[in-house]
């Protein structure tokens, strides 16, 4: 089974499960910026949550299928078309031999996931097939896809068509309230973030995103010795700009780490786009645990092998 990249759009990469256990060597997790949407796409084809998929930033993008295939698209809201017919997101679709699937620009949200039937061929490195572009490994030659690239997938039997259950279709929005716990460098008495709306700038990539807005005055603590950082960390630069780390973000950093988006909400970061508005809702460790259990239970009811 062969898929030709007609137009990859802003950035299209092969992503699979995260690359775990190598952060001490400076290797970030990579993997989908929105793992929930990727798992939902895989579920529609009966595949494991971490099976290799195409992650498409913002759209538009298009792909030609040289043989008939089943596919599914989830994530950012966009129009789909194949063979001059509109196609729905969040359903198992059948693309006829030779047809092109055209994905329009995302109306809301930042990343779409295209899963295909069979196993998408991808380079596995350090335990994951996810593309990590800065070091050029994983996925398709360790890089974003280009026009004319040809991907192959092992043939698979046809499965009955599925639809994502309504409650699991998380509509991307232009504003997000993200639950956070204090980071290790949050000054005491500076816990009142809930009312502040931060604006997402145009500096956005798989490594992280920049936000503008008021942050606490850190005085002399503007720079510290480097420590581990993880996706979901909210760091503040000496210039007073906020940086939120995504799956390709660096593994250590020296900027003060003020807040940490809780595990349950980190997947939302993959759908944040320039101009969006973010608020941070400070929670306790117990509330963070409860939030994780609740969201996990909902997702697991449809995707038994998925873990937030």
């Amino acid at each position: 089974m062969t898929i030709e990249v007609i137009y990859p759009g802003v950035q299209c990469t092969v992503q699979a499960g995260p690359r775990g256990g190598w952060r001490h060597a400076g290797v970030p997790a990579a993997g989908p910026a929105d793992p929930v949407s990727m798992a939902l796409a895989n579920r529609l084809l009966g595949k494991p949550a971490g099976a290799a998929c195409l992650e498409i930033s913002l759209g538009p993008a298009s792909f030609r299928f040289l043989e008939g295939m089943q596919v599914a698209v989830t994530g950012a809201a966009a129009d789909l078309e194949a063979g001059q017919q509109d196609m729905p997101m969040h359903e198992t679709l059948t693309i006829a031999r030779g047809q092109t699937l055209a994905i329009g620009p995302a109306h809301t949200g930042a990343r779409l996931y295209l899963s295909v039937s069979g196993t998408l061929q991808a380079e596995e490195f350090l335990g994951s097939a996810s593309t990590y572009m800065p070091a050029r490994f994983g996925g398709h030659e360790g890089r974003a896809l280009r026009k004319g690239d040809v991907l192959s997938a092992e043939a698979a039997g046809v499965i009955p068509a599925l639809k994502t259950p309504g409650p699991l279709r998380l509509a991307p929005m232009p504003s997000y309230a993200l639950r956070v716990v204090p980071g290790p460098d949050l000054p005491a008495g500076e816990e009142d973030f809930n009312a502040i709306a931060y604006r997402v700038t145009t500096r956005l990539s798989r490594m992280g995103l920049e936000i503008e807005g008021p942050f606490p005055n850190l005085g002399g603590a503007g720079s510290r010795s480097s420590s581990a950082v993880f996706p979901g960390a909210v760091q503040v630069t000496p210039q007073g700009r906020g940086f939120l780390l995504l799956p390709d973000g660096q593994t250590t950093g020296g900027y003060p780490h003020l807040l940490q988006v809780i595990r349950a909400d980190r997947h939302l970061l993959g759908q944040v786009r320039p101009g969006d508005s973010l608020r941070f809702l400070l929670r306790t460790q117990l509330q963070a645990e409860e939030a994780l259990r609740a969201k996990q239970a909902l997702l697991q009811s449809w995707m038994p092998d998925f873990r937030l």
Binding site: G20, G21, W22, R23, H24, A25, G26, V27, F125, L126, Y132, P134, A135, F137, V181, P182, G183, P184, S225, S226, S227, A228, F230, G232, A233, Q250, T251, T252, G253, H257, Q260, I262, R263, Q285, A288, E289, L292, Q296, R307, L308
Partner: protein
């Protein structure tokens, strides 16, 4: 020698940070926690060690208790079996475009700067920034050097960067903001090796000069 038990703080809702200060204890602890299992990442920082756990498998309080129990054994930790890497390096010229300017600013000759660098045993504090980038400490702080005002968009793999008190070894070709003094021959990152990374936190490094090619 009985070391005091280091403080532990939360680092988000699925990670804990051990504030252990400078020195080898970070690396011995990292090794101990690796053997213990149940930690998804074990990442040395310059003055601390951060571990992450699976919040689906245990709660924060459980992870804290497990870590506390491990730290109770700190005084009996075995020193990590660290390696010493003697790395051949060329200095100045195309491989070290900032050596001349640094020497001039210090009022030294290039030879003096290279000699000082080669005299010291450096320690791998941590790897980070990009895969395999090694932060080395132990450098004579009299070699004062600032980050470049305009970072380079391309620094060769193996480049030796220097900012005051620290040497940075670039494992991969890519952008870089540290002044570059030379280049090592060894490959810090080689995807064909079982462990693709030549160095690990806690290792020692000696830079040995080879004549420019």
């Amino acid at each position: 020698m009985k070391a005091p038990r280091p403080d532990v703080i939360a680092c988000g809702d699925d990670a804990l940070r051990i504030l252990c200060g400078e020195g080898d204890i970070r690396h011995s602890l990292a090794q101990h926690l690796k053997h213990m299992q149940g930690w998804t990442e074990i990442v040395p920082g310059k003055l601390d060690l951060t571990v992450s756990f699976d919040p689906h498998a245990e709660r924060m309080t459980g992870a804290q208790a497990r870590l506390s129990a491990a730290l109770g054994n700190v005084s009996t930790l075995q020193p990590r079996a660290a390696r010493t890497h003697i790395l051949e390096a060329g200095f100045g010229g195309e491989a070290g475009p900032d050596l001349a300017a640094l020497a001039a600013r210090l009022g030294q000759t290039e030879e003096q700067v290279i000699f000082t660098l080669g005299q010291q045993t450096l320690h791998v504090d941590m790897l980070g920034f990009t895969p395999g980038f090694a932060y080395l400490s132990g450098l004579d702080p009299e070699i004062v050097s600032e980050r470049l005002a305009n970072p380079r968009s391309r620094v060769a793999a193996g480049s030796i960067g220097l900012i005051t008190g620290q040497v940075g070894l670039y494992a991969l070709v890519g952008p870089g903001g540290w002044p570059i003094l030379g280049r090592i021959r060894a490959r810090l990152f080689d995807r064909a090796r079982t462990d693709p990374f030549l160095m690990a936190p806690g290792d020692s490094v000696v830079l040995r000069r080879i004549p420019a090619a």
